[in-house]
Symmetry: C2
Subunit: 276 residues, 2 copies
């Protein structure tokens, strides 16, 4: 596995980096960003995965998330993958909610997507091995979080891997994609029209089947324009009854990164509790 | 004066807003951003002007500056003007360091720039009246700061108005534009080739002539690729001898907003001391 550093900026005593590599899984070149906290006294560094939303790249959270201060304080590395495979040879769609920038963190089974759209395998097999090798004094402890489509991704990947991720958090996640327009469009394209093939990629179905789930923290702005149609929490919270889920409404906050920046300290504090 | 709110996002208990208005001074439509802190107990709100660098708009600092937390804590409004007049009817240049996005915060005297490029008048006469009217419980206390070309702007405007701005700060400012390539190119175009017309727009000339200047705080990254050629501090610090200038070198930090985000808390703390 070869990886090239293409940017590095000192930030809050640590390093905000950007890398390029060739992904075998996705059959294309990919970039990702990685924040490495200041190395203090050889303290072990834990890893948080941040998954971004529709239209985003690895840059949105690194530039607008305002997380680096707290990641440095808590000795946390944060990896920010891109949101889909990329490139002129990769299938795409004219809409901003399908194709490049909208990979939905799953493995597609339908043409023309199946060849490249394997973000789930990329994030659970190929990229971790690469990222682990880049973290000095890696504690081997991980948590996962994300925003909107990336909140869906964090819940799905987290719930499928309770042995790997100690905690999960999300801002304005698509909690029940099978039942909302964004998810129905993407799942029909990537997975086909048979809804029974969608369940394994739907956090509401997954949490209903879990014996126990990791601690989960979700923040949702009440002024989020996508809240009612795309992000409703009722089915998820019902399916999650008895699980360790805290669901917080943020009065007057919207779907933007200004909301994420405002509450990222609280989310990283939540993860730190379980990462030790 | 008519002004339209075109965006508003709750952030850290306050509001991150974007406005559009028609500027008589610049003879074009302009946008600007304004952060209003949470109103607490009718406490008076002071105002900080942030001036951005080459190629920037009003968005760069609002999205990447990570300042809102501290502005809310200190009851500070922060206004972020654009960096030049804008629009298809406004003169421009193919280079990124001249024309739109590169107004240098001065009044141009040369064609084709003189008609629109009057950022100094805009920032000292027209825009303040508009911004003051938007701040609840305005304390009538102001400070000014900026980055790179905007650091030059903050120093020039601040030093010309000691009665108005209580403190000045800058990240990686162009301290002596008359003597460096960015400034020489812009000043020749906007002000003509006679260097004696440049002095009133050069912080090094201005501070040399001041009887006393406001407290000034400057941060400069040592890994800033523009440091040696464009941002050297020697002449400025020599001209500023005896004035209240603190000049801080940031080891390993570069010219990016990651540096600004890392030290914005310190800069706002500096201003807060003089804004009371």
């Amino acid at each position: 596995m070869t990886v090239h550093v293409i940017e590095t900026h000192k930030a809050f005593g640590g390093e905000q980096r950007k890398y390029r590599h060739h992904s075998e899984t996705l059959d294309c070149d990919m970039v990702f960003s990685l924040f490495l906290p200041k190395q203090t006294d050889n303290k072990p560094t834990s890893l948080i995965w941040w998954l971004s939303g529709l239209t985003c790249t690895d840059d949105n959270f690194s530039q607008k998330g305002a997380f680096q201060k707290y990641a440095s304080q808590h000795q946390l590395a944060v990896v920010m993958p891109d949101t889909s495979p990329r490139g002129t040879a990769v299938a795409d769609d004219a809409g901003w909610d399908l194709g490049q920038g909208a990979g939905f963190y799953l493995n597609a089974t339908q043409e023309p997507w199946a060849k490249n759209y394997r973000m789930y395998d990329y994030l659970t097999q190929e990229l971790p091995q690469l990222v682990y090798s880049l973290i000095p004094n890696f504690s081997e402890k991980e948590s996962i979080m994300g925003h909107s489509m990336g909140g869906h991704g964090a819940l799905v990947i987290g719930l499928k891997h309770p042995e790997r991720f100690r905690s999960i958090s999300a801002f304005a996640p698509i909690l029940n994609p099978s039942q909302v327009p964004w998810g129905q469009k993407a799942f029909t394209a990537y997975l086909g029209p048979d809804e029974k093939d969608w369940a394994e990629w739907d956090a509401t179905s997954l949490i209903a089947k879990c014996d126990s789930a990791q601690p989960i923290h979700i923040s949702q702005g009440t002024a989020d324009a996508f809240y009612e149609v795309q992000l409703n929490e009722d089915a998820f919270l019902q399916a999650a009854e008895g699980k360790k889920v805290s669901y917080e409404k943020l009065e007057g906050y919207d779907h933007s990164y200004f909301t994420i920046a405002s509450f990222i300290e609280e989310h990283l504090q939540f993860h730190k509790e379980f990462l030790g």
